[in-house]
Subunit: 148 residues, 2 copies
Amino acid sequence: MNALKVGEAAAAIGSSARAIRLWQAKGLIPASDRSEVGYRLFTESDLDRLRFIRQAKDLGLTLGEIKRILDLRQEGATPCPQVVTLLEAHIAAIDRALADLHRLRATLTGVRDHADELAGDGVICAIIERRGACPPAVRHERDRANQG
Amino acid sequence: MNALKVGEAAAAIGSSARAIRLWQAKGLIPASDRSEVGYRLFTESDLDRLRFIRQAKDLGLTLGEIKRILDLRQEGATPCPQVVTLLEAHIAAIDRALADLHRLRATLTGVRDHADELAGDGVICAIIERRGACPPAVRHERDRANQG
DNA sequence: GTTGACCTTAACCTAACGGCAAGGTTTTAC
DNA sequence: GTAAAACCTTGCCGTTAGGTTAAGGTCAAC
């Protein structure tokens, strides 16, 4: 038989054994067959699903989103319309992140370039303190992900 | 006296009481005075330090980096040169993130724009599966931060 | 028969808090 | 004068997507 163990399956799809176990624990893939001693065994059709997950991850989808797509498909629905919606939400998020990063970059280079002019008589560090009004805090991508 | 409780101090610097407690637990600010019943009490000079932390955070520095700056200053050193180095490292990281996001955005819009052409006969979702070779995985900013 | 490469689960680590619990305190309103 | 609202305390769990041990079982090769 051509059943693969988790490490072999991981190598086949270009991911890690740990990641595959996590996907399984999170319900993205069903409980796999086990060998007599308990090793996970993956078939070719299992690999298709694993590859799908990896490709979706390459597109920046979260495991939760991928699970939703997979569940939709399981219910017989075609998830593609929701996927397009999802992609558009991600594109919008990327645009926000790009704008934030551009702004932050401008602030940072500005601060760095004026570092010389700032005498070292700030209380802690003049570079950080002597730069006029604080621009509104730039929230990082990861912050936005966690709390709206 | 004008000692502020943690919630008042948080409001004064534009952060949260929870964040201030965290900064204290991580050693960015010393153990503050306490009222008779154990409430944290902050003076004006405490606020300066809190404001410094918030400003440094606005520049994208991590709490660990800010602590290092604060510790340097405590040892009598002027942290500014290291701060410049830090800023340049952050700018470089931002540039990498920008490049990654631009690439991911291009991939995403490409996938979205060709969604119509892809018949729904993919195993799970044609949009995700039928797009030729997978570009190398784009690692997100937060991944890079956690493990080199 | 032992070394080394693989597998198992479990638990801890990352960044920076938010949320909630369970209880004590202060303030405000009736 | 007291009751409720609004604070405060500590502490633990949750968030992302796994990496990294730990402790132990399994399998192939030498």
